[in-house]
Every structure is written in C-alpha cells, then in structure tokens.
C-alpha cells in the first residue's frame, strides 16, 4: 500500500518534470523566434514565462523534499529523487538561457540584425530537440537513449564555431559591427551552453539505473 502511494507520487513528479521541460523547450524556441522576427513584445513574454519556470522549479523541489521526508527512499528510489533535484535545477538554468536571449532582443530594440539568422535557429532547434528526448529518457530511465544524446552536442558545438567565425569576419571587416556581432555571439553562446546541460540530464539517467555517476564527454572534448 505504501509502495503504491510512493509510485503515485513519483509518477506525479515525473509528469511535472516533463511539463517543466516543455516550458523550457518552448521558451527557448520562442526566444530565438522573437529575435528572428524582431518582436520585442514576444521577448517580454519569454522573460515573463521564465518567472513561471523558476516558481515551478521551487514547487517541484518542495515536492521532492516531502517525498523524501515521508517515504524515506533507499537505493534506486533515493537515486531517482536526488537526480530529480539535479535535473530541475538544470532545467531552471536552461530556462535562464532562453530568458537571456529574450533580454538581448529587448536591449537591441528595433535595431536590424547584423545578418539574417540561419545557424542560430538551427542550433535552437537541435538543442530543444535534445532536451525533449533527454527528458523522456530520464522519466523512462532509458539508458540507451541517454547514452546516445550527448554525442549530438557536437552538432551544436560545430554550429557555434561556425557562427563565431562568421561574426568575427564581420567585426574584422568593420569595427562598427562589434556591438551587433556581440549580441549575436551571446545568443549563440547561450544556445551552446543550453545543449551542454542536456548532457548533465543524461548523466543522471544513467546514474539512476546503474548507480554510477559518470561524466559523459561529447566526442570533441573526450
């Protein structure tokens, strides 16, 4: 009977994590989309939604603590709950990257972009997709998927390097471009960091299933 209560509570927590993750995912895509469309009102909505993400993270943290206090979990269950702490804090930080992109667009105001956004939306798409699958793997404790996803981070890193080089050529060509190039550099940086954090979620999935806390390196840093 107690076990059943516990299972129900865990399922609720998992549902909430998926919900929190989808908010973060959508907010990231929206932040880049708003920038692409030069829509500062949409960026304001991205910034406002981050507050909701933060609140939800704290509510979830509280829920996890209640489960720990009342169910006194051991072994796999303990690893799962400890990992949920870690994952929701990753999600909150990932939400901050989306908000950061929103803030950049608001600061840019109506100013034209240095160049049309091509690689940056692509980076956002890959990063959001990685997060989506990593969270499903987390709640389903699917180790195989969790082990595969971090390698995809290389695509994001490659795009980041490409964006970086391209923006540098703009700066070299005309130092007047520094300000506008710098804005975009920060956007690309946020996306690169966002994808890195997906790897941390995958590490936790493996930890829950095996008890081993291993750092997964994507092929390039490995």
């Amino acid at each position: 009977m107690l076990r059943k209560t516990f299972e129900t509570e865990i399922q609720q927590l998992k549902d909430e994590i998926i919900l929190l993750g989808s908010l973060v995912e959508q907010n990231l895509l929206d932040s880049v989309d708003a920038m692409k469309k030069r829509d500062t009102a949409a960026s304001q909505r991205v910034i406002a939604l981050d507050k909701q993400i933060n609140d939800k993270r704290f509510a979830l943290e509280n829920q996890v603590m209640i489960v720990i206090a009342t169910q006194q979990p051991m072994a796999h269950d303990l690893r799962l709950l400890a990992s949920i702490f870690e994952v929701i804090s990753e999600l909150e930080r990932m939400g901050d990257y989306a908000k950061g992109i929103g803030v950049i667009n608001v600061r840019m105001g109506g100013e034209d972009l240095l160049k049309p956004l091509v690689d940056i939306p692509h980076m956002a798409q890959i990063a959001a997709d990685m997060l989506h699958r990593a969270l499903l793997a987390f709640v389903n404790e699917d180790i195989e998927t969790a082990q595969r996803i971090p390698a995809e981070d290389d695509q994001v890193d490659n795009l980041y390097n490409q964006v970086y080089r391209e923006l540098m050529t703009y700066i070299v060509a005309d130092p007047q471009n520094i300000e506008r190039a710098n804005w975009l550099l920060w956007v690309a940086h946020n996306l690169e960091r966002f994808a890195d954090r997906v790897t941390n979620i995958c590490e936790r999935t493996i930890f829950i299933a095996t008890g081993n806390l291993l750092e997964i390196n994507s092929s390039k840093d490995g």
Binding site: L2, R3, Q72, M74, A75, H76, D77
Partner: protein, 256 residues
C-alpha cells in the same frame, strides 16, 4: 578461509535447521569486523535472530536438528562442544527487544552480574556502575537516584539500563536484537548515539527494527532472506546502490 586481523567473527559454511523445519540458515559465510556496527537485516523468518543467538549459543540444542560449519571468534570455534559457554556469554553480551529489568535498584541491576561472578569490592562495583551507565548514555539521567527501582525508569531508560548491564561485564561483542523496537524516536536516537560511541571499543552486531535504522547505523550490512545471506557490504554502498535485485526490492519496500 584466510584470517584477517580486522575480523572479530568469522562464520564459515554455517548451516542450521530446526527440528520443526520452521527456519533455517543455509551455508552462511560472513566476516564481522571489529570496532564497527554490523547490521543484520531482512524480512521476518530470514534467520537473523537465529544467527544472533548462535553467536552466544543461546539456541536450545533440543530445537536444533542439524548444525554445520564453524563460527570463529578470534580463531576459536565457539560451536565446539568443549566451549566454555559461561565464558563465551561473558565475552558476547546481548540486549533484547524488550528490556528485561531485574526487580531491584538501578545500581543492583548493573552490579548483579559482576556479583554473581564473585566481585565483592565496592570500589570495583561502583566504578563499573558509573562506567557502564556513561557508556550507555544513561549516567546523567540516573546518577542521583541509583537506589531507586529499575522498573521506575521509562522504556527508553530501561533499554539503556539493559545495555549498561551487558557493558558492566566488559564483553568484547554486543548483540542487539531490535533494541529500540519499543522506543520513541528520542530514546531511539540516544541508543543509536551510544552505539556509535561503543563501537570504538566493542564489536557491535545489530538486528534493526526498520530499514531506516539499518541505513542510519550500519557500517556494514548483511541482508538475509529465507535463511540465505543475499548481500554483505559497507552500509553506505548497500543502501544507495545494492548489487542484488532482492536487496534492492527489500530496501525500497517492494516486497510482499
């Protein structure tokens, strides 16, 4: 089996069957380290208390059908028929689930065992009373009323009095069979805290009353299931990442 200096008790290929076939132990191999708390836990009927009782030969030979293997305490096989049981029980003290306080004063509860063994010197007896009550974390609470009856103490104090009574005989090993099962969390905390102190001097074997207590107290933990030793490892490993599925299922409450 190779002897390790750190092993206080070495159980080798030990099996036991009761006459009525109710409970048994099957081929147990276990090394219990000195100066540590070793927790023996598992579902009821798994053989925990049987094993504990074998360690100071409390099992009534009439109930036991067969018994094989060896239990070595400091290289001496205590199952040997020539074992001096009185001496063994002095070396291996035991505290039970329900405190058995003798109908006498707090002081006499502690000195009784020593007096039976012929100790008459007042100074030695007083010394033992203070030392063992301090070790059992009861001294401060009872020092002013040592001549009051032991039964006047609260349940938690009675249990610590029984612990002090075992300690008065200066055993080397202390066996505790669910010593806090009837106690409130505060008294339980005090008993557990005194065990942490006592392990510096003694070898402690505890059958806990809950998995949580096992996890809190175990330096080493042995999981018993239906007469079989399923897993033995350091407590911090066993309760965070057990290696056997059956241990995992039990500590996470998936049994039954």
């Amino acid at each position: 089996m190779e002897t390790n200096l750190n092993d206080k008790i070495v159980i080798e290929n030990f099996s036991l069957q009761y006459v009525d076939g109710t409970e048994s132990l099957r081929n147990i191999n276990l090394r219990i380290p000195r100066n540590a708390i070793t927790v023996i836990f598992g579902p009821a009927g798994g053989g925990k208390s049987t094993l504990l009782r074998c360690l100071n030969r409390l099992n009534d030979p009439a109930d036991v059908k067969t018994m094989n293997g060896r239990i070595l305490i400091e290289n001496e096989n205590i199952l040997d028929p020539k074992t001096d049981i009185i001496r063994l029980r002095r070396k291996v003290g035991m505290v039970f689930a329900r405190p058995v306080v003798l109908p006498m004063s707090i002081r006499s509860n502690i000195t009784y065992g020593l007096e039976v063994m012929g100790e008459k010197r007042r100074s030695k007896l007083n010394e033992a009373v203070e030392r063992s009550l301090k070790q059992a974390a009861l001294w401060e609470e009872v020092r002013a009323r040592l001549d009051e009856p032991g039964v006047a103490l609260s349940g938690g104090q009675q249990q610590r009095l029984c612990l002090a009574r075992s300690l008065a005989l200066e055993p080397e090993i202390i066996l505790l069979d669910e010593p806090t099962s009837g106690l409130d969390p505060i008294s339980t905390g005090k008993v557990e805290a005194s065990l942490q102190e006592l392990k510096k001097t003694y070898t402690i074997i505890l059958v806990p009353h809950s998995v949580q207590q096992a996890a809190r107290t175990a330096d080493f933990a042995a999981f018993f299931l239906q007469g079989e030793l399923v897993e033995f490892s350091e407590g911090k490993t066993l309760f965070t990442a057990p290696s056997d599925k059956r241990t995992e299922d039990y500590v996470t409450g998936r049994f039954g």
